[in-house]
Amino acid sequence: MEAAAEIKDHYRSDFERLRDGLPGGRIPWMKRRREAALARFAAQGFPTVRDEAWKYTDTGVIARRTFTTASPPARAALARGDLAAFTIPGLDCHRLVFVDGRIAPELCDLDALPAGAAVGGLAAALEGDAAGVEKLLGRLADDDGNGFAALNTAFMTDGVCLRLADGVALERPVHVLHLSTADTDGTAVHPRNLVALGRGSRAVLIETYAGLREAAGLTNVQSEVLLGEGAELEHYKLQQESAKTFHIADTGVHVPAGARYRAHGIDAGGRLVRNGVRVRIDGAGAECELNGLYVLAGRQHVDNHTVIDHLKPDGVSREFFKGVLEGHARSVFSGKVIVHPDAQHTDARQTNHNLLLSENAEADTRPQLEIYADDVKCAHGATVGQLDPDALYYLQSRAIDEDAARSLLIYAFANDVIGRLSLEPVRSYLERTLTERLLHGRRVEDLI
């Protein structure tokens, strides 16, 4: 649906204000793409609940406001000490920090990158290697279908640009912090991430999205992940924005033959959150695994929307999403799996379990399988339920008090996802931060 005139005008004038200062402002193809994306946004506007893909997530609260893109900070907004709250103890990693959508070079640690690894900000990559970026950027963007994505392309400021040549193993993970400092409502950031791994290359990317203050801002992210044959990416996205923030993310992933994409999306923060993930299983034996955990309270709303296209034979996809909801929280999981006619011997499995801790919480779960090949294995399972009273009774009959028994069961439920993470420091970090939140301050160790 066409954007309302005042919305169009607002984003047009915001664009005019920033245009020349946006990354790649002097690069003709970049300028053209931004202009085209803005026009596309104007033509399609923000999605509404009449769009099938957004049926359960009303972004009207975003469309009714006007968000102004954060300007580059006049001076360093953060010191290293401010990062402590967002770093992961015990994690030996390369680090990139973006503050309000722009890189903060003084906070980054990018020493000792192996040969063949280019890791840095997208804006810098555009400056240094415009031709290289041109070939990759936008290949997996969702600008045609989704107003948020188009807006991101028009306004993108910066984000991680991780490129590995063929056969490069990046041993240390890359931790990317996307931090916002806005303390007033109405500020938008448009991070744009680009990951391109050469044949047989390997990397681990961890993204943290967080705000330093509580403000009704918009984080509108778009990420593109292009894997070479046999490449492997493990991609963590830890979303812990303020309880007022709108967080809209879209990730497009291309997985060719023999390549493997593993993603773990952990949502603890945000007021209204949308994680769109689109994966193309596009080569024999390509694999993807999407894991998700959302821990919600108050009036939080989190929508995980995944689309996996199996285009070639022998692909494997696994989805495992779990949620714990308190208060008036609401979650949506829609998992679409399309097995195209060529994709024989596809093995696709999808699971979504939700634990409702209050009468007012609500979880919607929508598996959608579209199968056009005849020799495939596809399975899905979904549940929405409360704590098992028999399990509670059993624990209490073993001398454990009701409160601890509840905590233990909630912890066990959530830990099922956390246990799947490969990196021990990230697991411990999440166990501490998430489960302490789940257990209302009770420490896990106190339960045992």
Binding site: P389, Y394, S397, A399, I400, E402, A412, D416
Partner: protein
Amino acid sequence: MLSIRNLQASVDGKPILKGLSLEIGKGEVHAIMGPNGSGKSTLAHILAGRDGYQVTGGEVIYRGKDLLDMPTEERAREGVFLAFQYPVEIPGVSNIYLLKAALNAVRKHRGEGELDAMDFLKLVKERMKLVEMDEQFLYRPVNEGFSGGEKKRNEILQMAVLQPSLGILDETDSGLDIDALRVVANGVNALRGPERSLMVVTHYQRLLDYIVPDHVHVLAGGRIVKSGDRSLALELERRGYGWIEDELRATGS
């Protein structure tokens, strides 16, 4: 140890226990037998503190205290242990985790300190030998994917670790193979002592060859309708329950 006096209880308004009385002294083993649906598990769960039963009359005194007044976990801390007829699976919580949480809760209640990790593991491994359980079960989620017999063994392991004063075994023998029955019975016998009483619910006299009871009771229609010594179990094995009902009818009770 335990005095049940004229206990009446119902579920969803349906009376199940209809004036049940039973005295269990210190160190005694009482077997409870009775037809399916007569209320044996209901009695066990009411003692252990499960929600959903309405106690409409009578009382239960455990070591001088009103048992029905205590929250479930407090009963366990005070030494009541129910080995479930149908042990509950708890995904995501490992067996060792549960054992540790349970033991520490009980010890804390008794004013004893928590066991350190080493001593705890030593204790658990020792008790596992008693019921001949493999150590791998410690690290598996509680009862999840356990076979029927493994679940029952696991219940007795928990009992052996917690050392209750009153152990209620609800059909611990059903689902056990012949060897497992002997192992579990030996485990239970090792826990017998002057300070520990047992209430053993079973359908089969065979278990009572191993765990020799001091008293045998027949629970039928929500009441103890007959009590005797172990010979009663043998008689039940031979004659079934019909004759008791006939006897009751004859005496008009």
